[in-house]
C-alpha cells in the first residue's frame, strides 16, 4: 500500500553533455562520461515513468475511496 521507495521520488528529467548555466540550480547527477549518463538515463527512465503512473493511479483510487467513505459516514449520522 505504501509506495514510498526512495528511488520513486527522484525522477529523471533530461540529460546533457555540458552543464548549462541555466540548469545549475537544479538537482542533477554527474557522470564521468556522457555515455555513462545515457546508459543510466535510459536504463531507468521507463521504470520511473511506470512507477509514477502506478503511483498516480493508486493515489486517485485512494482519493475516490476516501470520498466514498466520507459520504457513507455522513449518510449514517
Amino acid at each position: 500500500m505504501n509506495f514510498r521507495l526512495p528511488g520513486c521520488l527522484q525522477m529523471y528529467d533530461e540529460f546533457c553533455s555540458i552543464l548549462l548555466n541555466q540548469f545549475k540550480s537544479r538537482v542533477y547527477e554527474k557522470f564521468e562520461t556522457f555515455d555513462a549518463a545515457l546508459d543510466e538515463f535510459y536504463s531507468k527512465i521507463e521504470s520511473q515513468r511506470s512507477e509514477q503512473q502506478q503511483k498516480a493511479k493508486e493515489d486517485s483510487a485512494s482519493v475516490k475511496l476516501n470520498k466514498i467513505r466520507q459520504d457513507q459516514v455522513c449518510g449514517i449520522y
Binding site: L9, Q10, E14, I18, Q22, E29, T33, A37, N66
Partner: protein, 174 residues
C-alpha cells in the same frame, strides 16, 4: 531530448565563429528583423511582452537570446548558456535604440570562445564529455495520500515546476 524533431538540415562542419561575424550579428540586427519575421512566428512570448512598446515602425524587439541563437546556430539552450556565462541577461530586449555596448559584446565573444574551445576538443576527440542527468523537481509525497486537495496541489506543482525553475534561475542571477 526528443521533444522536437532533430534539425538535420542545419548539420554543418564545425567552424569557429569569428569575432567580426558575431559583432556584426549583434549590432546590425535591424536588417535581420525582416527575414526573421517570416521564419519565426513561434516567438510569441517575446512578442507578447514586447507588444506594449512596439510603435508604428513595427520593429519587433528581439531578446538577446534570440539574436545570439540565430547568429551562432547552436540552438536556444546553448545561446542562453553562453549569455549567462558572459554574465548577461538572456531576456534583455534589444532594438535599434537599445544595442549592446562594446564591453558586453566583448564578454559575449569571450563566452563564445570558451564554449567553442570545449566543443572543438570534443569534436577532435581530445576530450570525453561529461554527462549530467537532471532530475524532475521532487514531489512532496508525504501528505498527498488522504486529502483530495493534496492531489490537486501536486498536479499544479508538476505543471508549474518548469516555470518555477525559470524564476529561480532568474532569482539566482540578481
Amino acid at each position: 531530448m526528443s521533444r522536437h524533431r532533430y534539425p538535420i538540415e542545419i548539420c554543418r562542419v564545425f567552424e569557429r565563429t569569428t569575432i567580426s561575424k558575431l559583432q556584426e550579428s549583434l549590432t546590425a540586427f535591424a536588417l535581420k528583423d525582416h527575414d526573421a519575421k517570416q521564419i519565426e512566428p513561434k516567438e510569441q512570448n517575446g512578442g507578447k511582452k514586447g507588444g506594449k512598446s512596439n510603435d508604428s515602425t513595427g520593429a519587433k524587439q528581439y531578446t538577446l537570446k534570440n539574436i545570439l541563437g540565430d547568429a551562432l546556430g547552436y540552438g536556444p539552450q546553448l545561446s542562453e548558456h553562453i549569455i549567462l556565462d558572459a554574465g548577461l541577461v538572456p531576456t534583455t530586449k534589444l532594438s535599434e535604440d537599445k544595442k549592446l555596448d562594446d564591453n558586453e559584446i566583448q564578454l559575449l565573444v569571450q563566452a563564445v570562445i570558451v564554449f567553442e574551445d570545449w566543443l572543438e576538443d570534443i569534436i577532435n576527440g581530445q576530450k570525453v564529455p561529461e554527462g549530467y542527468i537532471l532530475m524532475q523537481k521532487q514531489i512532496l509525497a508525504n501528505d498527498t495520500t488522504s486529502e483530495s486537495g493534496g492531489v490537486k496541489k501536486v498536479t499544479i506543482l508538476l505543471y508549474a515546476s518548469s516555470f518555477l525553475y525559470c524564476l529561480m534561475a532568474m532569482d539566482f542571477m540578481y
